[in-house]
């Protein structure tokens, strides 16, 4: 019972015990210890992949249900209880569909694009603190790593746009490049402010800095809102869904994709949504901290709170125009973020 409680609430304690015990046993056999570490890391990778896919399946269902709530309809309710297996059915359908490669595509680029989009979303999970001690690798440059890796996905979208050899795709890809680059700057500035407040780049450290319910969303309310806006733009969801603007560009950068390649784009969108929300929860809502319930549960509650907020925005607003989008970032978000950073710096220095 105590062990179960420790696993849920204080994961690093039983983990360290187990880790030490395993290493001791390993040393008895006389094999070099780094092999065991590699095995552990492979296990982590598999666990993360499974969690990621299951979560993506669930989040797609959740988005559709939320959409149904806002749109006074029922949403998926046929496959399985409450339609819970709808996404699985959709995935199976996409898996068994014919994989079409149009004649004119640049095959290598076309093929690699979904991979390039999906892999970074998987890599970011490495530094997300799911609970106390439940972080795959608490890098000391955690948040910088996140920004660097999420920046990679723009290459994937550009590749999809270019490799498809279709005008709609190309416009979508270029729009996406412009959008992601412009919105990364305010996001970066907000994160910088948080780093100034917490004094660390490590994701675990940022959560620790907010311990005792001194969550950053209240002192950084401006930053929180900016982060939500920029984060929403980063994941290409309405009102920032210009790269795949359905009514203008048919489907934007993924116009020519079908079957499982399309599914990768689709999955990546939702995983990105989850990651952005998870980072928002970590930076502003105190990560896994919370009373009574296990930290993991708190982490997911907070993440899904942000996810719901973003979905709410998505299903309410019309799409921005491409020049308004740029204007909004460069004329409003970036100056406000800079001002916010300067003010925060002064306050930190004075207090």
């Amino acid at each position: 019972m105590d062990l179960l409680k420790d696993i849920l609430y204080n994961t690093d304690k039983p983990w360290n015990q187990f880790y030490g015990w395993a290493h001791a046993g390993w040393a008895n056999w006389g094999w070099p210890p780094f092999i065991l570490d590699i095995i552990f890391q492979l296990c982590f990778a598999v666990i993360i992949a499974v969690v990621l896919i299951l979560n993506a399946l669930w989040i797609i269902y959740y988005d559709r249900k939320i959409a149904a709530l806002f749109q006074i309809r029922k949403g998926p309710n046929r496959v399985g209880p409450l339609g819970l297996f709808q996404t699985i059915a959709d995935t199976v359908k996409l898996l068994i569909k014919e994989d079409i490669n149009p004649k004119a595509v640049d095959l290598a680029v076309f093929f690699l694009a979904p991979v390039f989009i999906f892999i970074p979303t998987f890599m970011v999970m490495l530094v997300i603190p799911f609970g106390r001690g439940l972080i795959p690798a608490d890098l000391n440059i955690g948040i910088l790593y996140v920004m660097a890796i999420t920046g990679l996905s723009v290459i994937g979208i550009l590749m999809a746009g270019w490799g498809s050899n279709s005008k709609y795709s190309l416009i979508g890809g270029l729009r996406s490049a412009v959008q992601l680059v412009s919105y990364e700057i305010p996001m970066m500035l907000v994160i910088l402010t948080i780093v100034m407040m917490s004094g660390t780049l490590s994701m675990g450290g940022i959560v620790q800095a907010q311990a005792g319910y001194k969550w950053f969303w209240l002192p950084q309310i401006v930053g929180f809102i900016l982060f939500l806006i920029a984060g929403n733009a980063e994941v290409n969801r309405a009102p920032f869904d210009l790269p795949e603007a359905e009514s203008e560009l048919v489907a934007g950068f993924n116009t020519e994709y079908s079957a499982m390649k399309f599914a990768f784009f689709y999955l990546a969108e939702y995983v990105n949504l989850f990651i952005t929300s998870a980072i928002a929860a970590t930076l502003f809502l105190g990560g896994w901290e919370g009373p009574l319930l296990p930290p993991v549960v708190w982490f997911f509650i907070k993440t899904y709170f942000v996810v719901t907020l973003l979905m709410w925005i998505r299903w309410t607003f019309p799409r921005l125009r491409v020049d308004h989008l740029m204007e909004f970032s460069w004329k409003y978000l970036i100056p406000i973020a800079l001002l916010n950073m300067v003010v925060t710096a002064f306050v930190i220095k004075l207090v």
């Binding site: 959409a67 806002f70 749109q71 006074i72 309809r73 005008k167 709609y168 416009i171 309405a238 009102p239 869904d241 603007a245 359905e246 009514s247 203008e248 560009l249 048919v250 998505r314 299903w315 309410t316 607003f317 019309p318 799409r319 921005l320 125009r321 491409v322 020049d323 308004h324």
Partner: protein, 375 residues
């Protein structure tokens, strides 16, 4: 395969490219093909290519008896069929010299106005989609469904009702028509307010539509633009008021106009017109008399030789039916004047220099229905 376009391919500079939008495209609302000459995202030239669903309705009509033509007018515009029926039916009645009973006139106005609301709601729904808002479509369909149900009870048809007959109606209003209409009218104004708050007054929407696609009044008149698209340009021209037909003079309603003739004004005019149509419906509900619903129409319709043009204000503008009779059971020639055709013609003037997204916004604000353009 080369794209045939009015602008020659040699004249395209190295910065420019041609984008073929449609005939299968999510926001051309049917099979309209638009050829764009683009520089990046900026539109340098635009050419609408119509005729993909030309069904030669006018020619078919020459081989049909007069009473068999009414259903064809339904199919021209699947969103406001009654108004199109009305124009044709009125023309034939004038040729025959038939006086329609008053109750039938009231019923016609009621169905026509219900249809107008339905069409404007559909426009709102589709326009939301065009602008990237995914929720309005579901909301507007809720109200539209109520109207469709009323119309279904009345005529049996949900979209193409074939409601009118030459001389009046075949069937009277169904028993619960008034109740259902009353129920519908009790909340439509609130819903329109809600929709305006949701989309029309949304900050992103206004930023995208205000000052966009400005259609000056004289240009609109020169191109023959009619309906809400014309009234958006501050021209209070409404056939219900300016060339009254049926019993419209009896009703008190406002001709809604915009101020600048931009995309937002055209949108706002449509939302206001829903309210005005609801007002007309309320007055009609109070004033509807009892009595006959069908005039005495000869069994075989054989109008005297001659020609007649009758026009109505349909949801998209002025729809006219021109009939030439040679004294036989079948018309010698029929010509329909469809509003979307003229409204589309103005698109080149108001979209050049805008962005791709604006082409969608402007085209949507003209509220095109393709079968009616192609006929």
């Amino acid at each position: 395969m080369t794209i045939k376009a009015p602008f020659e391919l040699e004249k395209i500079s190295s910065d420019e490219y041609i984008l073929n939008m449609g005939p299968q495209h999510p926001s051309t609302h049917g099979v309209l093909r638009i050829i764009l000459k683009l520089d990046g995202e900026t539109v340098r030239d635009i050419y609408p290519d119509i005729g993909y669903i030309h069904s030669s309705v006018e020619k078919i009509c020459e081989n049909r008896k007069y009473e068999m033509i009414t259903p064809f007018t339904d199919r021209l515009d699947y969103l406001s069929a009654v108004n199109y029926n009305l124009a044709y039916v009125m023309a034939v009645e004038k040729l025959l010299g038939v006086q329609v009973p008053e109750r039938a006139e009231y019923m016609r106005v009621m169905l026509a106005e219900l249809n107008r609301i339905m069409s404007h709601l559909m426009w709102f729904a589709a326009y939301g989609m065009d602008m990237g808002a995914l929720t309005p479509i579901i909301y507007a369909f809720r109200e539209r469904e109520e109207i469709i149900d009323i119309m279904e009870g009345m005529t049996g048809g949900r979209m193409i009702h074939h409601a009118l007959r030459i001389g009046g109606f075949k069937y009277d209003l169904q028993k619960d028509f008034m109740e259902r209409l009353k129920k519908f009218l009790s909340h439509i104004d609130d819903r329109v307010d809600e929709y305006e708050a949701l989309l029309i007054n949304n900050i992103i929407f206004t930023a995208r539509t205000k000052g966009m696609g400005i259609l000056p009044k004289d240009m609109a008149i020169n191109y023959g633009v009619t309906g809400p698209s014309l009234r958006g340009s501050d021209c209070a021209y409404d056939l219900r008021r300016n060339a009254p037909y049926s019993i419209y003079p009896k009703f008190d309603f406002k001709v809604c106009t915009g101020r600048n003739g931009d995309t937002w004004d055209r949108s706002k005019v449509r939302m206001d017109e829903i309210r005005e149509s609801a007002r007309i419906l309320r007055q009609a509900m109070d004033g509807i008399p009892s009595g006959d619903i069908m005039a005495k129409v000869p069994r075989i319709i054989k109008p005297a030789p001659g020609e007649y043009y009758s026009k109505v204000e349909c949801a998209r503008g002025e729809f006219g039916a021109y009939i030439v009779s040679d004294g036989t059971e079948k018309p010698y020639r029929i010509k329909f004047r469809s509003p979307s055709f003229s409204n589309l013609s103005v698109i080149r003037e108001i979209t050049i220099g805008t962005k791709i997204a604006d082409v969608i916004a402007i085209m949507g604000s003209l509220d095109l229905v393709i079968p009616e353009i192609d006929r």
